[in-house]
């Protein structure tokens, strides 16, 4: 319980400002690098899953494909559909990308390496994740296109529904460790591998993984952008950098949930086995990468679910299971804790 009572340092020192600036620049570079690598990786993995080579023309093994795509996207004209809400249309892609920088500030990359020390880091991430849905609404509605609007409506009902089991799963962890500070949760999993929350909270991990796919609009829950039904979903009307920003936001939110999975459930920066030179930050990055690869693998393995199935899984299974998990956790904590 003591960890909650640690007060913030509200004093602004030059060092803290400097640290914040350095962290922001590093995060921006990380997010751009992540998008470039992930687009290539996704296409390559998709190729291998479907027994074809994937991109291989540009550069050796096609590794420069993303660079070519980026240049192409940058050079494209930004089209604004007629009779649309110009202001919201242009605001939406920016709004989808902007809160991401803030959320990456509070993630503990190593035992002491974070951009911003906040004792409510988990809550901060959940709070700003809600703005993603807002950006999708703005984009889908402002496009003045029925496909975009249906895509936006789907995205919203999906993200609102999947947020609840996600929060319930994370709340069980907060119950267990008595903190919403990600660094504290990271440190609480020190020691043996069975201290990791994936072993102490397996049901919460299962719920978390399923809701991750729902929250990031990834297959098998990618109904907001179901190409076969909606020609592209909420970003149908976007071209050039507008589309690129939405695309980047998708990969960034993927990385965010992967970091959360690594820090919350997979032991964070704690090593499962001692390997020289690989410690702390590297373990977080390895676990994050593994979870992201898992997400890509799932996308190319499972077909898209129907919309009623999507909502039924959430309201009839994940929500009761999440409540049960929370209840059992509270009971165990009360019995063990006292």
């Amino acid at each position: 319980m003591e960890t909650i009572l640690v007060p913030y340092t509200t004093d602004i020192t030059l060092l803290s400002v400097l640290k914040l600036v350095v962290a922001l620049v590093a995060i921006i570079l990380l997010l751009i690098a992540n998008s470039v690598v992930m687009v290539y990786l996704e296409r390559k993995v998709a190729g291998f899953v479907q027994r074809r080579p994937g991109p291989y023309e540009v550069g050796p093994w096609g590794i420069l494909q993303t660079v070519a795509d980026t240049v192409k996207l940058l050079g494209k004209q930004i089209l604004i559909p007629g009779n649309s809400d110009r202001f919201l249309f242009l605001l939406a892609p920016v709004l989808s990308m902007f809160p991401m920088f803030l959320m990456f500030l509070v993630i503990p990359y190593g035992p002491i390496l974070t951009g911003l020390e906040v004792n409510l880091g988990l809550l901060l991430i959940l709070a700003f994740a809600g703005m993603e849905g807002l950006a999708v609404i703005a984009g889908g509605w402002a496009s003045n296109n029925k496909y975009s609007l249906i895509g936006a409506a789907r995205a919203v009902s999906q993200s609102v529904a999947y947020e609840i089991p996600l929060i319930l799963a994370i709340l069980a962890l907060a119950f267990q460790h008595g903190s919403l500070d990600l660094s504290v949760l990271n440190r609480a999993q020190e020691g043996w591998i069975w201290n990791w929350n994936i072993f102490t909270q397996p049901l919460a991990f299962l719920i978390f993984v399923i809701t991750c796919f729902g929250e990031t609009n990834r297959a098998p829950f990618d109904l907001p952008e179901g190409e076969s039904e909606l020609t592209g979903g909420y970003h149908t009307e976007y071209s050039g950098m507008g589309f690129a920003l939405f695309f980047m936001a998708e990969y960034t939110s993927m990385m965010l949930v992967s970091f959360l999975a690594a820090v919350l459930f997979l032991g964070g920066s704690n090593a499962p086995v001692d390997i020289p030179l690989i410690n702390g930050v590297w373990w977080t990055l390895i676990k994050m990468g593994a979870f992201m690869t898992f997400m890509i693998w799932v996308r190319w393995t499972f077909p898209r679910v129907r919309f009623d199935q999507l909502l039924n899984i959430n309201w009839k299974w994940l929500l009761p299971l999440g409540l049960l998990n929370l209840w059992v956790t509270a009971l165990v904590m009360k019995v063990v804790g006292n």
């Binding site: 319980m1 909650i4 009572l5 007060p7 913030y8 509200t10 004093d11 602004i12 020192t13 030059l14 060092l15 803290s16 400097l18 809400d85 919201l88 906040v118 004792n119 409510l120 809550l123 901060l124 959940l126 709070a127 700003f128 994740a129 809600g130 703005m131 849905g133 807002l134 609404i137 703005a138 509605w141 609007l149 409506a153 919203v156 009902s157 993200s159 609102v160 947020e163 919403l180």
Partner: protein
């Protein structure tokens, strides 16, 4: 070689003391004050501007985004008053859920920009609006005036620990806390009742 190691060690020492000196370089109190006032002004502008945008917008979705701006201003104001928990809860619930719910409500009804909300409201409607706008002032005004001396403070506000906040909610303030959920229950019952009525008329 030894010289090099020695000089680099000296350099590291120097940089360490440099970092220490940097971390001890607090901004003067005046700078803190100015920043607080600038932030306060900015957030007030956000709240009022968002509210005006919401009221004056010709389109319901645009009005909703005005409301979102107001919510953000309020969240920022909580942050300025050193209650980050309230700020994040404001963002999580009002921006993440309530505004999305409003969007859904707008989608379910006919949304044209030539609807009745474009016309200027009649005198009775304006009067009702004025009364409901003044109601909080009448309710909270006396409390604020009575406690003006206690509320006015110039020092930096101190953050309430989360545990204390939770304990307050389930111990001392448990009755108001539960009453709020009764209000929500009544609202939900009202919604069901409205839908029920429609179903039987068909």
């Amino acid at each position: 070689m030894i010289d090099l190691i020695a000089s680099s060690a000296a350099l590291m020492n120097a940089s360490a003391t440099g970092v220490e000196a940097l971390s001890e370089m607090m901004l003067p109190q005046l700078a803190h004050d100015i920043m607080a006032y600038v932030a306060y002004g900015l957030y007030v502008l956000l709240i009022l501007g968002g509210g005006l945008w919401a009221v004056l917008a010709r389109n319901l979705v645009r009005a909703m985004f005005g409301l979102v701006v107001t919510f953000m201003g309020v969240a920022a104001m909580y942050l300025l008053m050193a209650s980050p928990f309230m700020a994040f809860m404001q963002l999580l619930i009002y921006i993440g859920a309530i505004s999305v719910l409003i969007f859904f409500a707008i989608m379910l009804i006919k949304n044209t920009s030539s609807g009745e909300e474009v016309n200027f409201p009649g005198p009775l409607q304006a009067l009702t609006a004025l009364i409901s706008a003044a109601a909080p002032l009448v309710l909270f005004g006396p409390i604020i005036v009575m406690n003006a001396g206690k509320l006015a403070q110039t020092e930096t506000p101190v953050e309430t620990p989360l545990a204390e906040l939770g304990q307050g909610l389930i111990e001392y303030y448990v009755v108001p806390f539960e009453m709020i959920s009764v209000v929500l229950l009544v609202a939900m019952a009202g919604g069901v009742l409205l839908a029920w009525d429609k179903r039987f008329k068909k």
